[in-house]
Amino acid sequence: MTIRKTTAMIAAITMLTVGACAKKAPDTLPPAPDGSGTDAGAGTGTGVVPGSQEDFLASVGAMGDRIFFDLDQYNVDAQDQATLQSQAQWLARNPAVRVTLEGHADERGTRDYNIALGERRANAAKNYLASIGVDPSRIDVISYGKERPAALGSTEEAWAQNRRAVTVVIGR
């Protein structure tokens, strides 16, 4: 048995444990684009565990786990729909997998309102996934409001990256 396989097995066991307690999100929030923190074998192609976060990102693309919103908006536009369709295809291939949809807002809003706004955004993504055939009972929603920015600057560009809904694999 190679070291790589052993690592992958440990990762799989960990994921099962996490999956046993529902609504447990991954340790890293938001997930790093390369999926670090879940599987040391990620990125090698052969080491990716089917149904894992790495597998998901390998399928949808590095930024394919998230959709972005305009200021104070929560509508799912054509580009978002394409992203979510790609996610739905992967979810269809991995029917036992559950995901969390994280809603986020930029820092230029008040704390409580931003939690409500993040809820709107995550639910908009969830509702679209449901409308194209993903069982909504597989999708948990959590809003982080402005608590967990992905881009740390205070620029329009950073804020645009932070107004997002991110799909995160939480196990099966």
Partner: protein
């Protein structure tokens, strides 16, 4: 004798009058020059003076160690806390124990008025610290008018040694109330969120402290994100939001027991909690399928009552001090604005019409004003308006000032200020109703979401 300061105000009431006469001032576009509160421009022509108060170290009849504390050292420390309280109020120019001579025990009841007049002090505070004989301390607090040679305040406190700061705050409150005619506010506590770590993954812990930052204590360990705490009116509990187990839920934390319980059982996110003034009910917001509305539930549990039902975001909220009305925010009009309603949800009316977005309304304990965050022109500023939306005034001017909370007497507001950029941080600040007396509050880490409780029981 008074110390003249060009942009300072003697009394909050004076400033209120000045503002009432200049209602248009609040409508002008924000000035964007530095951190100076723009409101200072409005009041610059008002005659402004601060009363000079000498606060020498308190005397002791005998230097004794009580529970490891020396009565001599405490005499100096208590005077320091009193002077700092009076200075922070913005109304007074204290001469603390570092700048005036110490007094003898005999002077406590027989001040050398000529000495204090020679220091240009309008008033002088005298006091003593004495072992009580039962393991505690007795602290005496006197205020005199130096020109008239009269006694204005005489109070005594029998306290446990660890509560010496409270004796100082109570003495400062007695002085402040006697001289200003306002209700006291120093002897009170603040719950807030202590912040540390990188901006993308902040560690946020529930913490409590005295109104001046003393007696600081962390409550939660930071493993779960904690936000928006509020002290119960009796200071025994804190309602707040925890991301425990990666869910967004309102908990009531029992400070003495060190345990917490959910306010309501729900699979939905619950957040933005507030106590009713009698501590028997809790207001919170809940998102169902992406739509957030405001609910009210008994603090002991039971069936929640839904108060709003618009498709927009209805969130936050704060009770009027008589417990009969609620002020909250809603984007039902298309942008965040402030509304009031009765506690049963009836009679919902928008009160903010000044342009821009308004959030985080907080009803003053006096009932006369509502504090808010106003967003517009690239800035978040803290302001106040009447409960019907009149007399809007902005008190701060910075990149992001947010979430006002009232002092127990409704004369001072604490809030948090966030700086921009990758290293952006949040810190706690305090401003009085003139907008002139702006102070940063000392905290061991960064801070946000302050919540000022009532005068301690």
């Amino acid at each position: 004798m008074k110390r003249s300061l060009a942009t300072r105000l003697t009394l909050v009431a004076t400033a209120m009058g000045a503002f009432a006469a200049l209602p248009a001032a609040a409508q002008t576009p924000p000035a964007t020059t530095g951190d100076t509160p723009r409101t200072a421009e409005v009041v610059a022509e008002v005659s402004t003076e601060r009363t000079v108060i000498a606060v020498p170290a308190f005397a002791t009849p005998a230097v004794v160690n009580v529970a490891g504390l020396s009565t001599g050292t405490l005499g100096r420390q208590i005077a320091d806390v009193i002077a700092a309280d009076l200075e922070r109020s913005g109304l007074y120019a204290p001469l603390g124990p570092g700048s005036v001579r110490a007094i003898t025990m005999g002077e406590v009841r027989a001040p050398q008025f000529a000495d204090w007049q020679a220091r240009n002090a309008d008033n002088v505070v005298h006091g003593f610290v004495q072992a009580s004989g039962t393991g505690g301390l007795v602290v005496g607090c006197y205020l005199y008018d130096t020109a008239l040679g009269t006694e204005l305040v005489r109070q005594g406190y029998e306290i446990q040694p660890g509560d010496w700061r409270r004796a100082a705050h109570k003495c400062a409150d007695a002085i402040y109330s006697r001289l200003s005619g306002e209700s006291p506010f120093f002897d009170s506590r603040v719950a807030y969120i202590a912040e540390s770590g990188p901006k993308g993954n902040r560690i946020k812990r529930l913490a409590i402290m005295d109104s001046d930052g003393g007696n600081h204590r962390f409550i939660t360990n930071g493993q779960a994100l904690a936000i928006s705490p509020r002290f119960s009116p009796d200071y025994k509990k804190i309602v707040y939001v925890s991301y425990l187990n990666n869910r967004v839920r309102v908990f009531i934390y029992d400070i003495n027991a060190g345990t917490q319980k959910l306010v309501t059982e729900s699979s939905n996110a619950t957040f933005a909690p507030r106590w009713s003034p009698d501590g028997r009910q809790i207001l919170y917001s809940m998102a169902v399928g992406g739509n957030t509305d405001i609910y009210r539930v008994s603090a002991d549990g039971g069936t929640p009552v839904r108060l709003t039902s618009t498709p927009g975001i209805d969130v936050g909220g704060s009770f009027s001090p008589d417990g009969r009305k609620i002020v909250f925010e809603s984007d039902r009009s298309g942008s965040q604005q402030i509304y009031t309603m009765n506690i049963d949800g009836s009679n919902q009316q928008r009160i903010s019409f000044g342009g821009g977005r308004y959030a985080t309304p907080e009803w003053s304990p006096r009932g006369d004003l509502i504090a808010f965050t106003k967003m517009g022109g690239g800035e978040f500023r803290v302001g106040v308006m009447t409960p019907t939306g009149g007399g809007e005034r902005l008190l701060t001017n910075s990149w992001q000032d947010e979430a006002p909370t009232w002092s127990p007497n409704g004369r001072v507001i604490q809030f948090f200020r966030t700086s921009p950029g990758r290293e952006g941080k949040s810190t706690l600040w305090q401003v009085d109703l003139t907008g002139v007396n702006l102070r940063r509050l000392p905290t061991p880490q960064d801070g946000s979401d302050p919540s000022w409780g009532p005068i301690l029981p």
